[in-house]
């Protein structure tokens, strides 16, 4: 019976265990420590979390406070320390929740900085709080299984999102992005050719859809892992995507079976340790979490309208490298009597990065409009109305005005309902 089950569910044929888990934990900890250090050294902490005078919050998370200018550094310091403690065999249990909370707090400060891979880091860190949920071999195996499922969810959704007209049949946005990389050595000249964009698009889609399964099978795993390194190595080289490729390369270590992982660890002279606290209920937390992860990317189906313009349900859905969007949003404020009026210079209120991100994302446009309204109300304007003229180009198409400039955005509530004010 067990034999047959092993055959059918190939994950059982490649069971992960204490060694797999340890290897992943170490790789994750090292990567996060480097990522946090990079934030300190690059000066981005100030640019992204201190310079902005206004911050775009996630709906439902407006209550998350800004920790203050010193507090931001303290928060990054905490995340750095916690990521280092993730490497410690005994301390990692306590480091995991600290890392999750500090990192996620940073992410919740301003959604301008939202990136799918930061969200993935938060997800994995959350799972590490509850993992491994038992010290026996079976619990360990299942712990690794749950992590593998998380990674598979990411890849498969990223692949499914690519099944679309633009990606497959127009090779967009790669046909726009690749020629811009023609300065790269060796492959540069080839990147300017449309054929290359088509090839990359199709390979990318098939890769995302199949890689978790190919990693899972013992017979394909070696080749699959090599292609993980090649694929993410290439993307890291070509695009400014930070730690993302390395996070995926580290996460793919989860698909190693326990014996292979143990061999690697012993060659590195690292002892295997899980030191579980055995939260029995941890498994239920995790299963509920994964259930949400499976549903969340599909919430866009609840919204009518042109998805790529409204972007409702776009975040937290593993839509990576999917569209090239660029916009321009001009705001005007006028009072109820139509006596006072002002055309807004966005740079007086937002950083260049915030302007860039806000200019094509309707939820941020709405949030900024409300912010402007509040400011002018404070200045004593009577019922200020805020109008926006927003032009967006999607995948190189001629720019379109995506919302009605006559709509008073102060009258549009900020909630999860469909954006009827956005048109395509």
């Amino acid at each position: 019976m067990t034999e047959r089950r092993n055959h059918i569910f190939s994950f059982s044929a490649n069971p992960g265990g204490a060694a797999t888990f340890t290897l992943f934990r170490l790789a994750f900890g090292i990567l996060m420590a480097l990522a946090m250090l990079r934030m300190f050294l690059s000066g981005r902490i100030a640019a992204q979390f201190i310079e902005p005078s206004f911050r775009f919050t996630y709906f439902g998370f407006d209550w998350v406070p800004h920790p203050g200018n010193t507090g931001v550094y303290f928060l990054f310091g905490t995340a750095l320390l916690a990521s280092l403690l993730l490497l410690h065999p005994r301390w990692f249990r306590w480091a995991a929740p600290v890392f999750f909370l500090s990192f996620t707090w940073i992410e919740l400060i301003d959604k301008t900085t939202y990136l799918n891979h930061y969200y993935l880091v938060s997800c994995l860190a959350f799972m590490l709080i509850w993992l491994p949920y038992g010290s026996d071999a079976r619990s360990l195996r299942r712990s690794v299984l749950l992590l593998r499922i998380m990674i598979a969810i990411v890849y498969v959704h990223a692949g499914l999102a690519k099944i679309g007209h633009d990606w497959l049949f127009e090779a967009l946005p790669l046909r726009i992005w690749l020629p811009a990389k023609e300065h790269l050595p060796l492959i540069g000249p080839l990147l300017a050719k449309p054929f290359t964009a088509y090839l990359f698009s199709w390979i990318g889609c098939l890769y995302d859809l199949s890689i978790p399964f190919l990693l899972w099978h013992a017979s394909t795993r070696k080749w699959a892992y090599l292609s993980v390194l090649t694929f993410h190595g290439l993307t890291a080289w070509m695009f400014p995507i930070g730690v993302f490729p390395w996070v995926m390369a580290a996460a793919s270590l989860l698909f190693l079976d326990d014996n292979t992982a143990a061999r690697i660890l012993s060659r590195l002279r690292i002892s295997i340790s899980t030191r579980a606290l055995s939260f029995g209920f941890g498994r239920y937390v995790l299963m509920a979490f994964l259930f949400v992860q499976v549903l969340l990317p599909w919430r866009f189906l609840l919204y009518p309208g042109a998805f790529f313009y409204t972007e409702q349900g776009y975040r937290f859905s593993w839509r990576v490298m999917l569209v090239e969007k660029h916009g321009m949003a001009e705001f005007t404020v006028r009072d109820a009597e139509g006596i006072q009026r002002e055309s807004i210079r966005n740079e007086d209120y937002l950083t260049p990065n915030q302007i860039k991100q806000m200019s094509f994302q309707p939820d941020m446009i709405l949030e900024f409009a409300h912010h402007l309204g509040a400011i002018f109300k404070q200045r004593g304007w009577k019922e200020p109305a805020v109008h926006a003229e927003v032009w967006v180009t999607l995948n190189g198409r001629p720019a379109k005005m995506i919302c009605d400039p006559h709509t008073d955005l102060m009258k549009v509530p900020r909630n999860l309902e469909a954006y009827t004010w956005v048109r395509s």
Partner: protein, 361 residues
């Protein structure tokens, strides 16, 4: 199956490696475009601006010694030519022009007329005077000061008005020459070497800076004095806030800026045709449904802007209070142009300027 991916990718790399030394006509040579920009467009633009400024300086010297109406006319004509040549710098505030803030310190408007008048009366101008008391607009005010007869202006130019004019012109001349000299130095190689597509690349900087200049023209040259800032937002016209109102050259300067801007986008100079950003956009970009390239659409829109700016006439201050529709039309045409250059162009050339890591979402 996965082995197949790997083989595909490796063979792709191999093919690419073999192809490297073969010239390929289809590939746009970005580096040579940047070299051309540095050598022929941007660097020579600053030299042309400096030459015209030199002529203005000479004619102000002449005005100081002659102090008559023909000399005043000569200085005024030289001012018009110099401010028009200066548009080559305003349309391309890249590198030294941006570092030295030529727009702020060379052509800020409106000027502080009270400040100018009191300095002229007391002779207490200085090198540390603010941008509102400098540049082309300050010179314009002194050359065309309202309420003073031409004969008086000319005569006063022999004495304190001439000294002040000379001081301001020398200051401006130094600024423009500094830009030209920076291009002769090491900046050129820095510019050409930044041939990537990141936020610090010359390509990104050009696209970004050109659009800043465009925003400035739309808002401050046309929108603010017209009292029209788009989206049905109409307030009272305020010609005093505009450019070239004393010399009645608002339209002239605006058109000079448009011409300079179109040339720089196309990689042209007043004398030569070259290869520029729009050619690059057309080489890598995707044409619209009618098969028109972005370059074509942008150049077509420039023509509409020229028509619109000519329809405004020269005397904005005189006509705008009764009929500002021509200026509103110009504003709207400039906005259409801005949508093309600020929204579509960065996207088409693949420099949707990043200030942080992205994963393309």
């Amino acid at each position: 199956m996965n082995r197949l991916f790997f083989v595909l990718l490796s063979s792709l790399l191999t093919v690419a490696a073999c192809k490297e030394d073969k010239p390929d006509d289809q590939v746009f040579d970005r580096k040579s475009m940047l070299t051309r920009y540095a050598d022929s467009v941007l660097a020579t633009g600053s030299i042309r601006a400096a030459t015209a400024m030199g002529t203005l300086l000479d004619s102000i010297q002449n005005l100081r010694s002659e102090g008559d109406i023909p000399a005043l006319q000569g200085a005024r004509n030289a001012w018009r030519k110099a401010v028009m040549a200066f548009q080559e710098l305003e349309a391309a505030q890249v590198g030294p022009a941006a570092d030295l803030q030529v727009q702020l310190f060379g052509n800020y408007f409106p000027v502080d007329t009270n400040g100018l008048k009191s300095r002229l009366a007391n002779g207490n101008w200085g090198l540390n005077d603010m941008a509102t008391l400098r540049g082309f607009a300050a010179l314009e005010y002194l050359l065309w000061q309202p309420g003073i007869a031409e004969q008086t202006l000319a005569e006063q130019s022999r004495v304190e008005r001439g000294t002040y004019l000379h001081f301001l012109a020398t200051q401006l001349d130094a600024l423009i020459n500094e830009v030209a000299n920076e291009w002769k130095g090491t900046y050129k190689s820095t510019f050409i070497a930044a041939d990537g597509d990141d936020v610090a690349s010359s390509l990104s900087i050009m696209v970004n800076q050109f659009n800043k200049g465009h925003d400035h023209t739309k808002r401050y040259r046309v929108g603010v004095p017209t009292g029209y800032t788009g989206n049905d937002l109409t307030g009272p016209a305020d010609p005093g806030k505009g450019e070239g109102m004393y010399s009645r050259s608002s339209a002239l300067i605006c058109e000079a800026w448009l011409r300079a801007y179109q040339r720089v986008l196309n990689g042209n100079t007043p004398y030569t045709q070259g290869v520029g950003l729009l050619d690059y956009a057309d080489a890598v970009g995707v044409p619209d449904a009618q098969g028109r390239t972005l370059g074509k659409r942008i150049n077509d829109q420039f023509e509409l802007c020229y028509t619109a700016v000519r329809n405004t006439g020269n005397d904005w201050a005189g006509t705008m209070k009764t009929d500002r529709q021509p200026q509103i039309n110009l504003f709207n045409e400039l906005k259409k142009l801005l949508v093309l250059t600020k929204v579509e162009l960065p996207s088409a050339v693949g420099v949707s300027i990043s200030y942080q890591d992205s994963d393309g979402d």
